[in-house]
Amino acid sequence: MGNFIIAKIIARSVLSRFATRLYPFEKRAPYAATRGHIENEISRCIMCGICQKKCPTHAITVVRAERNWAIEPMKCIQCGECVTACPVKCLSMANTYSAASPTKETILLHQETPPPKPGAAKQEA
C-alpha cells in the first residue's frame, strides 16, 4: 500500500538526462542483422528470375531479354526470400531502411554486359 510510489523514478527522470535520443542530430547506428532494403550486385546477376518467383509481394521484375532487374521498394516487405533463393548470391539485405518518399518509385538496374559463364572461366583456367 502506498501513495505515489513512482516518486523515486520521477525524481530520477527530472534530475538526470532525458531517455530519448536527439534525433536528427543523433542517429542510432543500425544493427548488423537489421533487414533494411534489398541490393543487387547487377554485374553478377544471371537474370534467372528465381527472385521474382519467390517474392511474396511481387516486388521484383526481371526482364531477361532486356537484361533489366527492377524492384519496387514500397512493395518489398524485407522478408529476405530472394536473398536466400538467389543461386549466385548477388542479392543481399542491407541494414538501412529505404527513405520515406511522396511517390512510389521503381529502382531499375540495367546490366550492360552479362557475367562470364562458369564454363568459359574453366576453359581459361
Binding site: N3, I6, K8, T34, C79
Partner: protein, 359 residues
C-alpha cells in the same frame, strides 16, 4: 427507473490500440448492456491460403498482428510441420522459445503501459515503454525487425543466434529486469492504481470457464490453464508453472501479467543456459496432407491454428482462432453493471488485439 441512453464506444477512442465498436446501453451512468461489433480491420487473410503456397504463408501469418507477430508465425509453422511429419532440430526449438518469450515480455510491457494510460497514469505509461524499447532493440539485433520478426519458417528458424550473442543477451536482461522491477511496486501496491482496478469487472471462476475465456482473463479468475503445459517447442525441458490469481477482477489480471513478465525473464535465462548445439533448420520436402489443430499460448491467451492440407502446395483451409475472439463473450458479461468511466479499463483488461480477432 432512470433514463436509458445508448452511447457508442469506439472505433476511435484514445484508449483503444485497435478499433472495436461497442454500443453501451446506459441507465444514468451504469452500463446495462453492451453490444460489440467488429469488422473494421477485417482483411480476409484466411483466404490468402488459396493463392500463396505454404512456405510463403508464414509471411502472411506473421503479419496478422504486430504485437503478437512471432507466435503467429510459430503456430503456423508448428501446424504445417506436424502435417508434413517433420521434426525440427532441438536448437531451433530453443531459439523459437527464446523469441517467443521475448515477444511475450514486450507484449505484456506494452499492455501495462496502455493500461496505465487507460486510467490516466501517463508517466507510468511512458516509463513502461522506455523499458520496452530495450527489449525491442534485442529483438531487432537478433531477428532483424523490431515488430515483424521474420525468423520462423517451416522447418526451423531462418537464422541462428551465435552463443556469444546469447551470453550478451543474458547480461543485458539482468539490467532490463532491474529496471522493470522498479515499475512493479507501482502496479502492485499503489493506491491510485488499486482504486481504479480492484473490484472492477469481476468474473467468477465458473463464469470465466463457462464463457470460454482464455489467457490472463482465465488465469486471473483462478483457473490454472496455460497452453505451454502441452510442451511444444522447448517448454517441456524448462522449469515453470502457470501464474494464477484468484480475485477475478481487473487487479488480478494485472497481477497475472506482471508476474508473467518475471517468469518470462526466467524462462529465457533457462533456455539460454540449456540451448544445445546443432543445425537450425531441416530440409522440407513434400506437401502437407491431413488436418491438425495447433494450439499455442500467446500473450493474450490460447490461439488455435487449424491447418488442412490436400497434398498440394496450397493449404485447403487455414483458420486462426485468436484469444481476443474468445474473450469477447466474457467482456460483454463483465461490462454489465459497471460505471461508464470504468468501461475503458475493462475493455483494456482483456488485452484486445482486434487485428488478430478479425484477421
Amino acid at each position: 427507473m432512470g433514463t436509458r441512453t445508448i452511447i457508442p464506444f469506439g472505433p476511435q477512442h484514445p484508449v483503444l490500440p485497435e478499433p472495436i465498436h461497442l454500443d453501451l446501453v446506459l441507465e444514468d451512468e451504469k452500463v446495462v448492456e453492451a453490444l460489440p461489433s467488429v469488422g473494421f480491420v477485417h482483411r480476409g487473410l484466411e483466404r490468402l491460403a488459396e493463392v500463396k503456397d505454404f512456405h510463403e504463408l508464414v509471411y502472411v501469418a506473421e503479419r496478422i498482428c504486430g504485437i503478437c507477430s512471432f507466435i503467429h508465425g510459430q503456430g503456423y509453422c508448428q501446424g504445417v510441420e506436424t502435417l508434413l511429419n517433420i521434426e525440427v532440430p532441438a536448437r531451433a526449438k530453443y531459439l523459437r522459445t527464446i523469441w517467443a518469450e521475448l515477444s511475450r515480455i514486450h507484449s505484456h510491457i506494452l499492455w501495462l503501459g496502455l493500461f496505465a494510460d487507460a486510467f490516466g497514469f501517463e508517466s507510468l505509461f511512458m516509463h513502461c515503454w522506455r523499458v520496452r524499447e530495450k527489449i525491442v532493440d534485442i529483438i531487432e539485433a537478433t531477428a532483424g525487425g523490431r515488430v515483424i520478426f521474420g525468423s520462423c519458417k517451416v522447418g526451423g528458424a531462418r537464422r541462428d543466434i551465435p552463443n556469444d550473442v546469447l551470453k550478451g543477451i543474458k547480461a543485458e536482461l539482468t539490467t532490463i529486469e532491474a529496471e522493470y522491477n522498479e515499475l512493479k511496486p507501482t502496479f502492485l501496491h499503489d493506491n491510485s492504481v488499486k482504486r481504479r482496478t480492484v473490484g472492477i469487472g469481476t468474473l467468477s471462476k465458473e463464469q470465466a470457464y463457462a464463457l470460454g475465456a482464455v489467457g490472463p482473463t482465465l488465469r486471473g479468475s483462478g483457473v490454472a490453464s496455460d497452453l505451454r503445459t502441452l510442451g511444444y517447442a522447448a517448454y517441456k525441458d524448462l522449469q515453470w508453472e502457470p501464474v494464477v490469481e484468484h480475485g477475478g477482477d481487473c487487479y488480478s489480471r494485472t497481477v497475472v501479467r506482471v508476474r508473467e513478465v518475471t517468469m518470462s525473464f526466467d524462462l529465457i535465462r533457462q533456455a539460454i543456459d540449456k540451448i544445445p548445439e546443432g543445425p537450425v533448420d531441416v530440409k522440407v520436402t513434400g506437401n502437407p496432407t491431413g488436418e491438425f489443430f495447433s494450439r499455442l499460448e500467446q500473450p493474450r491467451g490460447e490461439v488455435v491454428y487449424y491447418v488442412k492440407g490436400n497434398n498440394t502446395k496450397f493449404l485447403e483451409r487455414f483458420r486462426i482462432r485468436t484469444p481476443t475472439f474468445a474473450n469477447i463473450a466474457p467482456l460483454v458479461v463483465m461490462l454489465k453493471g459497471c460505471e461508464l468511466p470504468d468501461v475503458p479499463v475493462i475493455v483494456l483488461t482483456i488485452d484486445p488485439c482486434i487485428s488478430c480477432t478479425e484477421r
